[in-house]
């Protein structure tokens, strides 16, 4: 009897210990990454990092101001293109297509697109835009990110819209509301917070992408505000600087890594903030 009890207690502790270790194993790497990025990145952050253009190899100073602005521009344009399309497609799936064949086809394809390697999307946009346009461009980079964003936004907005109960739709229709008003004025209102959260997570996800930008927006050592010219981005800058043989460049790459991590953190925190408001809304 007593032995049996001891054995149960032992098994309990072992299981508890293993699961705790696994949790720690996961967290450790995250903390390690954050620590390295902080320790190695912080020294690179100074005024010229934020305000100056990249310096030629071997020269002191220089910054990544153009890459910061580039990343923001690429992400904003990608959001402007990808989010409305994604939300409208999600609306179709949840409000109009429902169980129709077209809707299941769209659902299936967007599930495939979610898991498509981002580099494949980059090559696709290269063939679609970069080739015909005769060069890398801000527009191509944005389009690649918009395509990566699209399925995430489609599925999250569909899920969020589905959370609004059918009885609410029926109640609005029973008042004599046309379908579009039900969708825009009632259903969207119910799903707003969830959809904002979904969009922000999608933005966070694409703004850290490197591979699709290598073939599309490429890089630029100067300022660019034209849609049709190559554009610097933080992620591609990290990629290039980290592989270069210059000590100062490595340091700047760490700084850029710290900056992009902080930017993602802010977006994710904002998303969590909106998600938390959901229950009270």
């Amino acid at each position: 009897m007593n032995l049996h009890y001891l054995r149960r207690k032992l098994v309990n502790y072992v299981a508890l210990g293993i699961s705790l270790l696994s949790a720690v194993f996961g967290i450790v790497f995250l903390c390690w990454i954050l620590k390295d990025v902080l320790v190695l990145g912080l020294p690179a952050l100074n005024t010229s990092f934020f305000t100056e253009l990249p310096a030629p190899p071997g020269m002191e100073g220089g910054g990544v101001a153009n890459a910061i602005v580039g990343t923001i521009m690429i992400t904003v344009i990608a959001t402007v293109v990808g989010v409305p399309a994604g939300i409208l497609a999600g609306t179709y799936l949840s409000e109009f297509g429902r169980k129709s064949r077209v809707a299941s086809a769209v659902r299936f394809l967007s599930d495939i697109l979610v898991s498509a390697p981002s580099i494949v999307v980059g090559i696709f946009v290269y063939a679609l835009l970069v080739g015909p346009m005769g060069g890398f461009s801000l527009l191509a980079g944005s389009l690649a990110l918009a395509i990566i964003m699209l399925p995430v936004v489609i599925r999250t907005s569909e899920e969020m819209l589905k959370l609004v109960p059918d009885s609410t739709r029926e109640a609005a229709l029973a008042l004599g509301a046309p379908q579009w008003r039900v969708t825009v004025q009632v259903v969207y209102r119910g799903a707003l917070r969830g959809m904002v959260t979904g969009v922000m997570l999608a933005v966070a996800r694409v703004s850290g992408e490197t591979a699709p930008l290598l073939f599309t927006s490429f890089n630029n050592t100067f300022w660019n505000f034209s849609l049709t010219e190559p554009t610097a981005s933080l992620t591609v800058t990290i990629f290039n600087y980290a592989m270069a043989p210059y000590e100062e460049w490595h340091s700047i790459a760490w700084g850029a890594a710290l900056l992009i991590t902080a930017m993602l953190l802010v977006v994710t925190l904002l998303a969590r903030f909106f998600a938390r408001g959901r229950s009270t809304g």
């Binding site: 009885s167 109640a171 029973a174 509301a177 009632v186 809304g281």
Partner: protein
């Protein structure tokens, strides 16, 4: 039935099918203007299905089919090409569970008013207040008209839904077990409200609660297995039913 009454709605030989399954068989009854008509019967007998025929709610889902006629002031609402949006603005509905919209209390009512084309803010505010007063909710919510409707209690939410349905001044109001999710206090409030509504509106109510049917309604229809077993004045149904089944049901011998 009385002669001076006018028939608001008349149902003639209505059959209804969910796909191939027949849910309603040859329904014939008349809804009198300015009266409350109650529909009673065991679960799954077709009361709610019938109610949802009256504003053609079934059209929202594919595969449903009607046969026969439902006349609203003499015009068949099952005819082809009828404007369902217009029809539903004339025949309001209150559901079993409260269905407040995810917006503020006053916006819930303003939503319907805006559908009617009322744009003037002053008029909307005035009519929101009237609707809330009519549904005996105003004193409870007057200080928080801009708070979310979902923060109200269940009974308050249901009265808000009634206020919302009434505010657009429909000809007929359909109520699908409006008190089944509410406590007795809230139920009394809603029953009082129904009696008030009677003076201006025609009401059709589905209920599982026989006392409720007896208390509020003038006419009662007893449904079973998709058929109307008996339809008559409520008094007669509850005191001297013609059909043995009706008697068994209202005396609680089955169902």
């Amino acid at each position: 039935m009385s002669d001076k009454m006018t028939e608001k709605m008349e149902v003639k030989g209505l059959n209804f099918y969910y796909g191939t399954k027949q849910a309603l068989k040859d329904i014939n009854l008349a809804v009198q203007e300015g009266e409350i008509t109650a529909l009673i019967g065991p679960s799954g007998c077709g009361k709610t299905t019938f109610l949802r025929c009256l504003n053609r709610m079934h059209d929202l889902y594919p595969g449903n089919r009607y046969e026969g006629e439902i006349l609203l002031e003499g015009k068949n609402i099952l005819r082809k090409g009828i404007d369902l949006i217009k029809l539903r603005s004339r025949i309001g509905m209150v559901f079993q569970k409260p269905t407040p919209f995810p917006m503020s209390i006053s916006d819930n009512i303003a939503f319907g008013l805006k559908l009617k084309g009322i744009r003037n803010r002053g008029e909307i505010e005035g009519r929101v207040e009237t609707a809330l007063k009519d549904s005996a909710l105003f004193d409870e919510v007057k200080d928080r008209l801009n708070t979310p409707a979902l923060s109200l209690s269940g009974g308050q939410q249901q009265r808000l839904c009634i206020a919302r349905a009434v505010a657009v001044e429909p000809d007929v109001i359909l109520m699908d077990e409006p008190c089944s999710a509410l406590d007795p206090v809230a139920t009394v409030k809603i029953e009082d409200l129904m009696s008030e509504l009677k003076s201006n509106y025609t009401v059709v109510i589905v209920t599982h609660n026989m006392q409720q049917a007896a208390r509020v309604s003038e006419y009662t229809g007893f449904f079973m297995l998709g058929e109307v077993m008996e339809f008559d004045r409520t008094k007669r149904i509850f005191t001297n039913p013609k059909n043995k089944m009706t008697e068994d049901y209202i005396t609680g011998r089955f169902g």
